[in-house]
Assembly symmetry: C2
Homo-oligomer: 343 residues x 2
């Protein structure tokens, strides 16, 4: 099942959009390989359960979009003199993995990255502690790197992620959540790390603040778009493609942008339906298909994807201060790919 979006949401010159991520990965293959090796090396610990659980996460793969952003930003900014970008990209992935591990505990999501989630295999205890360990590993990498500016950027991102996740706890069962407040959640839980990951690339290349800011803006808006598309996919994607079940958010009572849109446009009966299923958590077998029909009726998926496309455009515009290059083009195209992966 796919969303009913037929017109191209945004258009860009250059690569075929479906291959944008592949192009970016191709440009950075050696760096990504080095980053992967750094991740494995730094997960090691005399406590065997730590690399075991870490390997479980690493084996699950994932797109490693966040470290890719650090590497791409550093190289686009002309960094060529060392390995700081590799270590900091690994550090970004550690922070992300730590939040995933803690999010698995919190969300009790059954599928994460297409495999059984870490807590389903190892129970709830180990992921909390291994997440803490990975978080401290990330800081150890930054301390080795030695830049207080980098520490400040990534630590502030980590604080914002935690705040965003707590805000999500408060808002996720509340249909009175406004779109703005929902976007605050998304900025926190998803976009802050995208922003920091990209910004750090300019820092290692010792570029001016304007370029740091431009990359942070790119990352922030790309991250928001990424999350909104994820929200849409949860009601629209093919399970095999997405690697997570359709309707996960619905079953967990998570109130995401498509639902907020449908709720705001809904009739009194429809609102009652959303309140029962999401606020009160009273769900029956036929509720998910009905929810999907309501989302379609109010064009909630298309509207969400339209919002995402706007954020992608802002991300792409932020890159205009950089000279044209294959990496800049690849970063622009990844924005388009983010929105179009729904097709």
């Amino acid at each position: 099942m796919t969303a009913g979006v037929t017109s191209p949401i945004i258009t860009t010159a250059g690569e075929p959009q479906g291959d944008a991520l592949g192009t970016l990965l191709g440009l950075l293959q050696a760096d990504m390989d080095a980053c992967g090796r750094a991740i494995v090396a730094r997960m090691d610990s005399p406590v065997a359960l730590i690399p075991q659980l870490a390997a479980h996460i690493v084996a699950a793969g994932g797109k490693r979009l966040r470290p890719l952003l650090t590497l791409a930003a550093a190289r686009m900014c002309g960094y060529a003199s060392g390995h700081r970008h590799i270590n900091l990209a690994a550090c970004v992935e550690f922070i992300h993995t730590a939040t995933l591990l803690h999010d698995d505990v919190v969300d009790e999501s059954r599928l994460r990255r297409g495999m059984a989630s870490a807590n389903a295999v190892f129970d709830n205890k180990a992921p909390v502690l291994v997440g803490d360990f990975m978080f401290t590993r990330a800081f150890q990498l930054m301390i080795e790197d030695g830049s207080l500016h980098v520490l400040r950027i990534l630590c502030n991102a980590a604080a914002t992620i935690a705040e965003g996740e707590v805000l999500q706890l408060v808002t996720q069962h509340d249909l009175a959540t406004t779109e703005d407040r929902y976007l605050d959640v998304v900025r926190g839980k998803t976009a802050a790390l995208f922003a920091a990951a990209a910004q750090v690339g300019a820092v290692v290349a010792q570029r001016p603040v304007a370029e740091e800011d431009a990359l942070a803006t790119y990352g922030l808006n790309l991250g928001i778009a990424f999350q909104l598309v994820d929200d849409a996919l949860d009601y629209a994607a093919d399970e095999a493609v997405l690697g997570k079940s359709v309707g996960d958010d619905f079953r967990e009572g998570k109130i995401t942008l498509p639902v907020l849109i449908a709720y705001q446009k809904g009739s009194p009966e429809e609102r009652q339906f959303w309140r029962r299923t999401l606020e009160e958590g009273q769900q029956q077998d036929e509720d998910l298909p009905h929810a999907m029909r309501l989302l379609k009726r109010h064009e909630a998926i298309d509207t969400t994807l339209g919002r995402a496309a706007n954020f992608v455009r802002e991300a792409q515009e932020a890159l205009e201060i950089f000279p044209q290059s294959p990496l800049r083009q690849a970063l622009i195209d990844v924005g388009s790919y983010t929105v179009n992966r729904v097709h």
Copy 2:
């Protein structure tokens, strides 16, 4: 019910031991007040649930031994020129609170610091995330402080804590755990932060490495003793005094030093009892009193307290390189207090 220890375990000159902590607090009252204010100020967040949950932890109080160590060490080392010790003491308490919050989730302990544990009141989700937030707050405080050396000390401690907690998961239901391996767990989960807290005091006072090392040695050994006494108290203390239930560790199947001692000395039937109750988690009403009788039969509580007294002596000896002062004496006496609080 108290342990059957009647002889003084260690003797020191100076203050009556029961009042040692009070004396230390009295010497540092202004600093502790300032630290308390810093903690409250830095727990703030626009996400209201964060200060709410934080206030719940702060209200529960606790002895704040760890920040007290930082303040005492800094002042004993002659630090007098600023507020770094206050902010870093607050940072130490944040790291401790974050680990408590995560430990509550992990251990499902019913009582923590004499109040309902955070997860019983707020469910399991918020404590994981608020713990993450407090952890990042701790790092933000260190980054503001600006010393990479301090960052390295406390970040390594945090990594060691996480490793120690994971090691505890692996060993806590295994009666084949050796005493050495158990002490590794204790060094990680408890003593590493005591060591770092004390060491940081020498760093802010810009004292030589030998004094940093001496304070780290003091903190490490005090922390080990503190945990061993805690293990003993779990089978021996008056619930109202300790603020936690007698037998918590037993009911959770935690294998601590008193149990390891009794197991090693036990008959085949006694070993079978420990395996059933702790490894297999099959417990009946009469099992806790029986466990306490076995511990008494093999003098396991006294032996544990004797081990603790040895660590306290090592802690106290480490302070010999410092000139005599009321603060040095108070730190020595706190060691004795740690062991004698069982009476």
